[in-house]
Amino acid sequence: MAEEVKLMKGNEAIAHAAIRYGCDGYFGYPITPQSEVMETLMDEAPWETTGMVVLQAESEVAAINMVYGGAACGKAVMTSSSSPGVSLKQEGISYMAGAELPGLIVNIMRGGPGLGTIQPSQADYFQTTKGGGHGDYRLITLAPASVQEMADFVKLGFDLSFKYCNPAMILSDGIIGQMMEKVVLPDYQPRRSEEQIRKDCPWSTLGKPESRGRNVITSLELDSAEMEKNNIRFQKKYKEIEENEIRYEEINCENPEYLIVAFGSSARICQKVMEIAASEGVKVGLLRPITLWPYPYKAIHDLGVKVKGILCMELNAGQMIEDVRLAVECKVPVVHYGRLGGIVPDPSEVWEAMKAKLDIKTSHSDKTTAETGDSIDPDQLKEVISNLNKMVP
């Protein structure tokens, strides 16, 4: 059977992918620009087909704690929100990490701080990858750059979170969430039976049979010696994730003169930047981290130390750039370009900034071509932004 290609928004793709994954429950609270996730789920009514529970909670706090409760039962459960709402979820994320529970959280970022704007932003990079909630924990973070990846990362996020018993986040923004693109949705897979969950997740709280002791899901341990052991176990797990689960994409990266490091929507904009650079005779490569934690330090180092300079383009005041600088150990110049508060730069604007900041000399006579992949068309970008402007927070 031929693959069924559909046209939909990134937010809608997440909802459809969740149903098809065999997700057991979604708990959400409306917030722009991600409300289509819950709206699509409510419209699809999967409780009538796969048996998936979809519930609108009274707050983001309640929603993440519902995820905590569902995850405690070994169920594949998720929530989605946007920046201010994700701030509220940090309590639950920390508790999930502390209780070693799987679960998927989607953040369709908007400009902050505070209530901020509903326009796209990548300013929650620090919050997501460096902590957010309290305690020494890590959050598996996937950064989709297309509607296809929004769909694909639902399965990847769930699979990783169950493999390591750790929460996972899809960190995206209003561009990818609202943009319509072609997508091939994954095949349907059935929800796991209670019997299967008891087998796969022997820690799950589904009722205590006589054959085992009671299961308790908790992050509490008053004995510091035991709590230290727990933390050491977490750190060992994080190390294992760092060793096994780094994902990134290299585009146009065979001996580039300069490198751009960007994730998510910024990477798509930078694919266009590479085309413009090629037309001015400069070969620019793009390294796109797909996992923001664990971070591809080594890949950026290995490629980065061979170029004349690196641009870190992100829709914030300079957050991921700290990790890029760590990766190349300051052996090459690393500069930042970004717009703030929901403003999305035009590819030509990025290129002009890159040239100025890295002192790049161009020659239009040396025009080359670049294999830059499927970039965002600036006109399409303008349309997404204009649609977002019509939305209400």
Partner: protein, 257 residues
């Protein structure tokens, strides 16, 4: 009758429920928690729900409830037990799910979760221990602290201008269409214990019969927090707590259904 004769099974009139394990309880002498734990364990056992029941523990003195009753437990963040229980029950509709919460957990930080779970008519039981004080953190003012009552954070007595009024949250919950059974009980003497057990049994049956949310408030003592002997605390409760929090059913729409 010698001791050997007395402990013969046919002579026993009282037994510890099997679900209540032998872990030494951390509760203070005279605390109501131990009695309510025992009642919950008895009801689960009598209904044959040992392998079907999931308890949701709060933050507060009962945070360690999971150490004493041998069922599966989820320990919730402070105040979030009703949200946690909502998901556990919705995702496992055939299970018995209850929360066990104190007044700070349920009526202060968890007010939104409590009200909305009850308003949705989640088929869960909420066991609510109201002793008018934060026990675990060392006796601070609770939303249910009586006017004039002294605590670590109202050392001169609760003052309504500064602290507002004691919150009768069960009366509030009783107004919600999703709540099918809201009752206020106590466990300071044998008769009260018997009534509370009956209330718990009814609440658990309501949840299994999908009738909506049941709330069993147990007006309790905190001898340590109140700085009284257990006996003094019981007497003080009967005079002062019962005046503000009178015992009895606040709502029951399950009769004859």
């Amino acid at each position: 009758m010698d001791i050997q004769e007395i402990i013969k099974p046919e002579n026993l009139v009282y037994a510890k429920p099997k679900l209540l394990n032998d872990n030494p309880m951390h509760y203070c002498p005279g605390c109501s928690h131990g009695v309510v734990h025992k009642l919950a364990a008895e009801v689960i056992e009598e209904m044959g729900l040992e392998d079907k029941t999931i308890g949701v523990a709060p933050v507060g003195c009962a945070v360690f409830a999971y150490n004493y009753i041998d069922i599966d437990w989820v320990e919730a963040a402070h105040g979030r037990a009703p949200a946690v229980a909502t998901a556990v029950k919705r995702l496992n509709p055939d299970k018995m799910v209850f929360t066990y919460q104190g007044d700070g957990d349920l009526a202060a930080i968890g007010t939104a979760e409590t009200i909305h779970a009850a308003n949705r008519g989640e088929n869960i039981v909420i066991i609510f221990i109201n002793n008018g004080i934060y026990g675990m953190t060392g006796g601070q003012m609770a939303p249910t602290t009586l006017v004039g009552m002294k605590t670590a954070t109202c050392p001169h007595g609760r003052n309504v201008e500064l602290n507002g009024y004691p919150l009768k949250i069960s009366n509030l919950i009783a107004q919600l269409d999703g709540a099918c059974y809201v009752t206020r009980q106590s466990v300071q003497n044998a008769n009260a214990v018997k009534k509370t057990k009956k209330a718990l049994r009814k609440a658990f049956e309501n949840a299994m019969n999908r009738k909506g949310t049941s709330v069993v408030e147990v007006v309790s003592t905190c001898a340590s927090g109140w700085k009284m002997t257990p006996d003094q605390a019981n007497k003080w409760m009967e005079v002062h707590m019962f005046e503000k929090y009178p015992l009895g059913d606040l709502k029951d729409v399950t009769e004859g259904n």
